[in-house]
Symmetry: C2
Subunit: 152 residues, 2 copies
DNA sequence: AATTATGTAACATATAAAGTTACATGAGAC
DNA sequence: GTCTCATGTAACTTTATATGTTACATAATT
């Protein structure tokens, strides 16, 4: 597939989890995200390792939030995914012998680095709690739908 | 392959072309870039359409620079490639009905947009002539090698 | 007319995200 | 203790896209 949407996906999951008590099975979360339970487990694994969520097996098991939402930023979540590349473009050759290519790389690297740094800074400025606040504003009087409720 | 290296590649080509008189065949440029002539034609097509380079068929034909290098920025070259996506990440769903996902998208979009804008601004600040200047500094007393000269 | 070079379509390859299947493991229900 | 539910994970499939390659048409020079 084209662009990496794991960050978008996992944030969607976390924000849903913050709206109602857990736990949530991978099955439930996958249904809400219109994807596969294994995909959910895959993207949640990194967050569990860092203690942002916890998981329990067996009856009554599933995923639970395990962090202070005001302490975790989008950048933290990004890091939990393994810090995948942010930019779609890169240099043709990383350490070229050709001086011409070195000049090109130097110019591009600076621009790329600046853009990556800004993006990381912006992600670091937004906490999960802030996302939740924004969501409440969008909801207004409406009530969030219960993602755990499902038709057989 | 992983990251888009067309911008890096085409800049490399242009900077080589600026170092010696043309024209250059796709074959010559491909050899210098360690790639295929068709790849060269493909990435040069957009630049030709915008008048940055010209191409001639037949004997003595090939590619020539056709612009003032101090007037063309890296951003212009990027645009000539068709402005491919800059970021490797994106939203899972562009226009979601889910308010939760809308909140996530809004936060990510702002960060993504800021980073893209900065990258474009940086690319717009560097002209091909500036790249040439930087190259001359790197070369020092050395002479650039003639990419047209090749062993049979 | 032969040669050289671009222009382009069509096909092949490589990589990575996303989706799927299969099965092992652990925890509660009975 | 056994059954059921849920995660953990490996392996495989699918899809998208950049890149590489082959083939051949077209145009310009010799």
């Amino acid at each position: 597939m084209r662009r990496d949407s794991r960050l978008s996906g996992v944030l969607h999951v976390l924000l849903h989890m913050a709206q109602q008590p857990g736990p949530f099975t991978s099955e439930t979360l996958a249904r809400a995200m219109d994807t596969n339970p294994v995909v959910i487990r895959r993207i949640m694994a990194g967050l569990r390792d860092l203690g942002y969520v916890s998981s329990e097996k067996g009856h009554g098991g599933g995923w639970m939030l395990a962090c202070d939402l005001s302490k975790v930023t989008l950048r933290d979540v990004y890091a939990a995914l393994g810090s995948p590349s942010l930019l779609a473009m890169g240099n043709r050759t990383e350490a070229p012998g050709c001086l011409v290519e070195q000049a090109v790389n130097a110019a591009l690297d600076q621009a790329f680095h600046d853009a990556e740094a800004l993006l990381l800074r912006r992600l670091g400025e937004v906490t999960l709690a802030m996302l939740g606040e924004d969501l409440r504003k969008r909801l207004g009087p409406r009530k969030i739908h219960d993602i755990s409720a499902h038709r057989a």
